[in-house]
């Protein structure tokens, strides 16, 4: 971000900050859940250090969890739009991470 540019109007400034905090909360929620689930899946009995296998399992698990998130998000939003009779609009493009 360019610090030297003139500050945006207060409305934009507030909304920018709110959106930023929302994105952060969203990312935090995802990471917490993802960590919990993937720890369960990949590290059933914790040793003295993470093995290479456990680490690669974690990477795959993360990708998979995000894949799951995207599917759930798509289906859920489609359902909401179906029940509210709303078409298009808003565009929840998912995560801003």
């Amino acid at each position: 971000m360019d610090i030297n540019r003139t500050p945006p109007d207060p409305k934009t400034q507030i909304m920018d900050q709110i959106r930023q905090e929302a994105a952060l909360n969203n990312a935090r929620a995802l990471i917490t859940k993802l960590n919990g689930h993937c720890f369960d899946k990949c590290i059933p009995s914790p040793g003295t250090s993470l093995s290479r296998k456990e680490e690669s399992c974690l990477s795959s698990c993360m990708e998979k969890y995000m894949g799951m998130w995207n599917i759930v998000s798509r289906v859920y939003i489609a359902q909401i739009q179906k029940t509210t009779g709303q078409t298009g609009g808003e565009g929840f493009e998912g995560l801003g991470v």
């Binding site: 859940k33 689930h37 698990c61 990708e63 799951m68 998130w69 859920y76």
Partner: protein, 95 residues
């Protein structure tokens, strides 16, 4: 996150016009709704992950079976939710 930036920037909300105030309220309302939806997505992902990803993790991609399980999971969960509410409503009527 620097929450100080709002106070630092010397924001004076009282200077906003009535139109801007309404607009701001509307926009914040939208963001709150979006946040609620995202929270539901997190919960649903949690529930459906437990339901659908039962084996070990062999790859980062979801299998076709897992994908359709996830889609069904979301749809049936919402249906179950409506069914529960409907039944509650009936129970209340019988009381």
């Amino acid at each position: 996150m620097d929450t100080s930036s709002l106070s630092q920037s010397n924001l004076d909300l009282s200077k906003l016009s009535d139109y801007d105030k309404r607009d701001l309220q509307q926009q914040i309302g939208n963001e709150m709704q979006k946040a609620k939806i995202q929270e539901s997505i997190h919960n649903l992902t949690d529930i459906c992950w437990t339901k659908c990803i039962t084996g070990g993790i062999s790859s980062g991609k979801m299998s076709g079976k897992e994908e359709s399980c996830a889609a069904n999971c979301v749809e049936r969960f919402l249906e179950a939710n409506t069914a529960v509410l409907k039944h509650l409503e009936r129970m209340r009527g019988e009381m």
